[in-house]
Each structure stands twice: as structure tokens, then as C-alpha cells.
Assembly symmetry: none
DNA sequence: TCGCTGAACAAGTCTAGACAGGTAGGGCAA
DNA sequence: TTGCCCTACCTGTCTAGACTTGTTCAGCGA
């Protein structure tokens, strides 16, 4: 949220956003009702609703009829590219992300493993052609690596998102901020998805990007997410150095 | 995941579904009455009825006027030794499980990686010594491998469970049925847990068990589960051939 | 036109209670 | 032993109401 904050609803948006990002209102918690917020900020319910709509837009909360608004934000800078479940975490080390390429592609041209290529069979088998909910004929491909040091690459990620709205301009304008934010601004909020994880040896191109020997063993993950209406949002293929990454998931609640 | 925002009746549906699918409430058994469930979950009877209607819809239970709700689900509890989230699945191939060893150990003697051993540091670092909720000084260790063919081993799993109740007799009597069933009979019902997954090279002993070369790369998983009161139930360490296993997880619901 | 107010009404979620009817078991009389 | 009644407990159904968000509309002032 940039610029001077002079509108009432922006004041409310900023106030609530700060409470959420600071962890004061934890993930999953319910915000006060619209009427209560209206009283608290001394504004009308309509104005509160405008603010809540902005927070929804930003992906910070979700609102359900008859129940209220609930915090989605994690407390940490949102970076769920690698997976959910509080995700594959680089173990304790500070990492930097470097964008290698942002390109507009026809989805049919896209092969599953890495790049625009001529290997037809691979495209048919692993590409985006059969993914449900993808209407756009074109996709934007973003390739990134993560480094713990200038020469030490620990992961490679390739995201494919539909070339719609402002996402279409990503190749020209570059990625300011996180891809998650760009998706939110484009109105794409993940609702459900699937992730698969296994391991394999990297090929020559991947070895070059990762600065390893071809044949080195990496964790390989593919995450696909869709919006509530079934619209395809994103597919991320990742290669992760098993020495630096570990998937962590939990089930149940440790509440009791 | 599983969205943090659940309706009350969905929360109840999920809780009961887990108890049913885990075998905690066996096929044919009667669920507590609607009033009892309402008290247990702290909701109204109407809300409980909504949840039961969903379970009926899903074919997990049947409800009869004047009698109660009865479990229909008979599918073997998902083999969750390898993980939750619809677990790591051997891709399409029929597998057989072979038990290698069932032994009673002092938990302090147990090293994290494999066996009773003398490598003190490893024991201290990776063993069960620091696991919360484990009161029993002794644990039962069960080692198993999975084979797709007599000479083709695709995974190795080592479970550690507290040596309490009938579990203490496992070394003498052997494991009839699944370990999940034995845990249920011993009154140990997983309520929450954690799983970590990465990859590493196997050592000499593991190579022998898996019939591979030492230094081969395997997916390595560690799953720990606890009961609702925090009692330690099980820890499973697995080594999985990445050519045969893939972790699959979903988030959100594919309702629409 | 834009930001905002205030209000009314629709609709979703959940609680609380009342009442009807099905089921099972114990006690009692024939 | 058989048949019946009473009681306890269960599910099925309904109503009323509190509280929430969703939607729309009229109006005010810069």
C-alpha cells in the first residue's frame, strides 16, 4: 500500500493489515464483525466493508457469509512457492532469490521438464496442455533460483501462470515484489491445489542452472493450484537440494 | 490448508471422519448420540446433525431413527505408515510388506538412523531420548521392507512405539494385522503429528536391507504422531525409492 | 463523480428448545 | 414363557431468535 493514506477505508485497511502482518491477529483468527469494526473506527459499515474487500483482494483475509472474516496471512512474508504445510524450508540459512527469465509462451510449446523445446512427446506428457481450468492459450513462465551464496545455488523453481491481466505484462515489466502478490493483484487467489514430491537426477540444463554436476540428486516437486471456481492459477516445478531443504507437514491440531 | 477457515459442522465432520478412517471407531460401531457429540464439540445438536448428514452423504455412516449412527466405512485404514495426505503411493504396482525384526529396546540405546548401536553422539542427536510425551523407558522397534518382487525392495520403514500394553508382546507374538490396528487395540489413537521429508544417501546397513549400492539416493521421511493428550504414539522413519514413490498432498477442498 | 453515511432487507450460520416417533430393556401379569 | 406396559434414550422435524455477511438504495458533501 503506497502513497498517502487519506481515505477512511484506506486508514482502516492499513490498520488491519498492520495487525495481521504483525501477528497481533494470528492466522485463522476471526476479525471482529463488520458492525463492531464500524463502531471501533467510527465509520459506517459500508466503509468497513470497502476496507475488508481490499484485504480480501490482497489475500490477507477471507470472508464468509454468516460467519465473519478470517486471517489467511501467515505472519511471515508469504512465500509459498515451494509448497504449503509451512513448506520446504531452507534450514536456517538466509537465501536470496534470483529471477532467471520471464517469458510469454504458448502452453502447447511448453515442455514439462524445462523449456521451450522440440521434444514433442515430452510436451504432450508433461506440459500444461491437459491441465484443467486453464483457458488462456498463453502462459507466463518465470524461472528462479535460490542462492545461499553467490555461487551456491540450492534450488530452481519454474512457475507457469496464465497470461491474463497484468500478469501478461510481467515479461516486459519484470516481477516487482513476489509472484504471490502479483497473482493476488490479478485477482487469482488459490483455493485448493495439489503437490507431488519425489526425487531424481538433474539433467544437463538443470545442472548448469544449479551449478552442479549432471546426475546430481535433487528433490523434485510440482505444485498446482486452482481458484475456487476451478480456474488454473499456477504450476510450480521445483528442484531442491536435499542438503538444504526438508518438507515439513503436520496434521491435526496441537490445541488441546 | 485445508483452509484455516472451517465452518463448525465441517470441523466436526473432519474430526469424525478421521476417527472413522483411522479405525478408531471400527466398522459397525455406533457413534455417540447426537446430544453427546454436541456436548463433546461444544455445539448445538443441530450443528452435529449437519455434520452427521455429511458423513451419511459420504457413505461413511448410516443413521437410524431411535438407534443412532453406525460406521459403514470398511476400507482398510489407509496405510499411513509412510505419511498422511494420501500418502506416498507406490505407483500402480502391487507391493508386499515383509517384517524384518520386532525388538524391545531401551529408548536410550536407540540411535536415530538404524539400530542399537554404540555411536553415542548419533543416539543423542537423533534418538528418541528427547521426544516429548514418551514416558515408557522401553520402546518396541519394528523394521519392515516393501517389495514389488522378491528381490526388488523399494522401501524400508522402522517404527518405534512405546512398549505398553499388548504392544510389549509384539516381539514374542509377532505382528498380526497392521501396526495401526495394534495401536488402536492398545488405545493409542493418533490425534496430531508431524512429518519431515527430504532425501539422502543410504549407508551400508541400509544398502544391504534395500539390496542397493551404498550411496544410492533415497527419499527419507520421519513421521511422529501423538495422542490428544500429548502421549507419544509412534515414530516412523522411512527410506523410499524415488523411482517408485511420490508424495502427494492436497490443500483446500475440491468441492466445486 | 467520488467517498461516505444510514438504513432496510435478504440470506447464511448457529443456538436453544419443543414435540413426535422409533428402539430397547426392565418389570410385571397372565 | 409370553405378551404387555413403562421408561429411558435415540433420531426426525419444526420454530424462534441472535448474529453474521451480502446487497441495494437514497442521500449528503466536497
Amino acid at each position: 500500500m503506497t502513497g498517502p493514506v487519506r481515505l477512511k477505508h484506506q486508514r482502516i485497511t492499513v490498520a488491519l493489515e498492520r495487525e495481521i502482518r504483525s501477528g497481533q491477529v494470528p492466522r485463522g483468527a476471526r476479525l471482529p464483525g463488520e458492525l463492531a469494526l464500524a463502531r471501533r473506527f467510527g465509520v459506517s459499515r459500508t466503509t468497513v466493508r470497502t476496507a475488508l474487500a481490499e484485504l480480501n483482494e490482497a489475500g490477507l483475509i477471507t470472508t464468509r457469509t454468516g460467519k465473519g472474516s478470517f486471517v489467511l496471512f501467515d505472519g511471515r512474508p508469504l512465500d509459498d512457492r515451494l509448497g504449503w504445510a509451512h513448506a520446504l524450508a531452507a534450514q536456517g540459512v538466509e537465501t536470496r532469490t534470483r529471477v532467471l527469465r520471464i517469458a510469454l509462451c504458448h502452453r502447447e510449446e511448453l515442455c514439462g521438464r524445462g523449456d521451450l523445446c522440440g521434444r514433442e512427446e515430452l510436451c504432450r506428457r508433461d506440459g500444461l496442455a491437459g491441465v484443467p481450468g486453464l483457458d488462456s492459450p498463453e502462459v507466463v513462465v518465470i524461472e528462479r533460483v535460490r542462492e545461499v551464496a553467490p555461487q551456491t545455488v540450492v534450488s530452481y523453481e519454474r512457475s507457469c501462470v496464465p497470461a491474463v491481466g497484468e500478469l501478461r505484462d510481467l515479461p516486459a515489466r519484470g516481477l516487482a515484489g513476489s509472484l504471490t502478490e502479483a497473482l493476488n493483484r490479478a485477482g487469482l487467489h488459490p483455493d485448493h491445489g495439489e503437490q507431488r514430491l519425489s526425487g531424481r537426477m538433474i539433467d544437463d540444463r538443470e545442472a548448469e542452472l544449479l551449478r552442479r554436476e549432471p546426475g546430481a540428486w535433487f528433490l523434485s516437486a510440482r505444485r498446482t493450484s486452482w481458484a475456487g471456481d476451478g480456474t488454473f492459477i499456477e504450476r510450480v516445478d521445483s528442484l531442491l537440494d536435499p542438503a538444504h531443504f526438508e518438507l515439513s507437514l503436520t496434521f491435526g491440531e496441537k490445541t488441546s
